[in-house]
Symmetry: C2
Subunit: 308 residues, 2 copies
């Protein structure tokens, strides 16, 4: 077997290119982080953390209109001269391909915009539903001067809880008659959603859905905190988008003052530590050890765990 | 503040009671494990691992008929004298309550059956979608002489991937026209499902769903392994249940021979190690450390992580 060539990465040069606005260098750096290329951890330590950059999460069931809303938000931000990064987290499923590709195509107009950067990440290998390196990648985007980082996930199961632990403002997009979808969502999102969007709000049952959200979130929150913000939109006609935009800004400002910031940092640190610990456990070696003990007829799972 | 009384647990006595068929003692022991009551880890080391006991997972979207099918399977097993345990994993959501309670009530007839044990577990605090102690609890049930352990989860997001890492046979229940639900499922379940049930198969589109499952699973599996088993049922009329029962037994037998057993043990060990490592990280202490460094103006997330 020929020797594997020693591929050297010049992190400093990559960083210079990123700073000069080179999106290819940025995309390549993200791939290096995703693949844990040697040196990526030292590189991350040297990144700054601009205080103005903000992460906004957008989630909801398939077909609720997340991408259309993301699209109009990108337009608002880019319109006032913000640099915008969009991360689409694909569930790591070949079965999603068709559905999501359709969504993503709607964002097409932004792919060649110089101040908009779009990247899809898979959720494969993560503990929860997001990409195992999404925290690092979002921090890279912040350091690279992106002022608004929009993370879009399909809100089923675990994803939407994870997004709430990463984003400073979490927007949950629902459509009338998606009562079943709400039931399929974990409580985490209903508790941590900062803004609910009821899209396609010209459909009947829009008011019913609003009442449902209020009842459910208020009953889960007996200590009488503020009710959630609910914005009604018809995204395809841009109706309600200005109000959503205002509400996001209001929430981001509030966040800046609060000690939620430390909570979010703690959550991020905790996840990074878990990912680190998870990498320390080698499944192949684990299997070999178990196989050996099992063959010797002396394998005891709980003894095995406590010995580690 | 008065001293907290020193509550002693006599694990040996609990175990004797469990062995004599005392379901209250079993329920109490499960609660002690869930709460990590001192001594539970030593208790687990002493459990045997009867080779005949089997874990069957059943998952699928809400309303697919999982509980009705579970119900008939319990009947089949109890009918031939098997001891059957059923674990229902509730997403840790107050919002689920209504929907799931309805499901669970259908199982009512089994609650007082001496050889059937039913327990609900929340998924709160788990890394994936299942209860953090479900592996230990399933092993306790095996040791307690339960021969069939049925784990029922709502298949949205992460749950169904986790169940496949725990169960020896995983049954996925779908209904015609739940194409959206399939799309919302992660690929994990479609790849690891051992048996698909198309329930309410008298509905139109049942054949279409079967073709869809075949196409999707085959295209995700280009190496040409066996196509998945698909069983059509009308659970409310017990139609198709005998075939499902046969297919489950066939799969369990196949599993017994294969080295999937070691893979499953490795997966279980890996998860238990992660849970253990996760417990070692104290979030409150983490937050205090971060707050201190942040106030001193010298907090660097990636330096912080690499120092841990």
């Amino acid at each position: 077997m020929p020797a594997i060539p020693d591929i050297a990465v010049n992190w400093n040069s990559l960083w210079e290119k990123i700073n000069s606005g080179d999106q290819h260098a940025l995309a390549r750096t993200i791939s290096l982080i995703e693949n844990e290329f040697p040196g990526y951890d030292e590189f991350l330590k040297k990144l700054g953390n601009p205080s103005g950059a903000r992460i906004i999460g957008i989630t909801g069931p398939p077909g609720a209109g997340k991408s259309t809303i993301a699209d109009t938000l990108i337009g608002e931000w880019a319109g006032i001269g913000n640099k915008v990064a969009v991360i689409c987290v694909d569930p790591s499923s070949p079965f999603h391909f068709g559905a999501l590709l359709g969504d993503r195509l709607r964002m097409n107009q932004w792919y060649n915009h110089p101040s908009v950067f779009i990247r899809s990440l898979s959720s494969r290998g993560s503990l929860g539903g997001l990409n195992p390196h999404i925290i690092e990648i979002a921090d890279l985007l912040k350091a690279a001067g992106y002022e608004r980082i929009l993370i879009e996930t399909v809100g089923v199961g675990q994803n939407e809880v994870d997004i709430a632990g990463l984003a400073e403002t979490t927007v949950v997009v629902l459509v009338p008659a998606s009562g079943d979808d709400i039931q399929a969502m974990k409580s985490g999102i209903l508790e941590t959603a900062d803004i609910f969007v009821i899209n396609k709000s010209d459909l009947p049952q829009a008011d019913e859905l609003a009442r449902y959200i209020l009842t459910r979130t208020m009953s889960a929150n007996p200590n009488g905190e503020e009710p959630p913000v609910i914005v009604k939109t018809i995204a395809t006609e841009k109706q309600g988008i200005p109000e959503l935009y205002v509400q996001i800004n209001l929430h981001l400002e509030k966040f800046n003052d609060s000690n939620q910031k430390i909570d979010l940092l703690t959550e991020k640190a905790w996840r990074l530590i878990l990912q680190k610990k998870m990498r320390e456990v080698n499944k192949t070696q684990l299997k070999e050890k178990i196989l050996k003990e099992e063959r010797a007829g002396k394998f005891n799972l709980y003894q095995f765990i406590s010995d580690i």
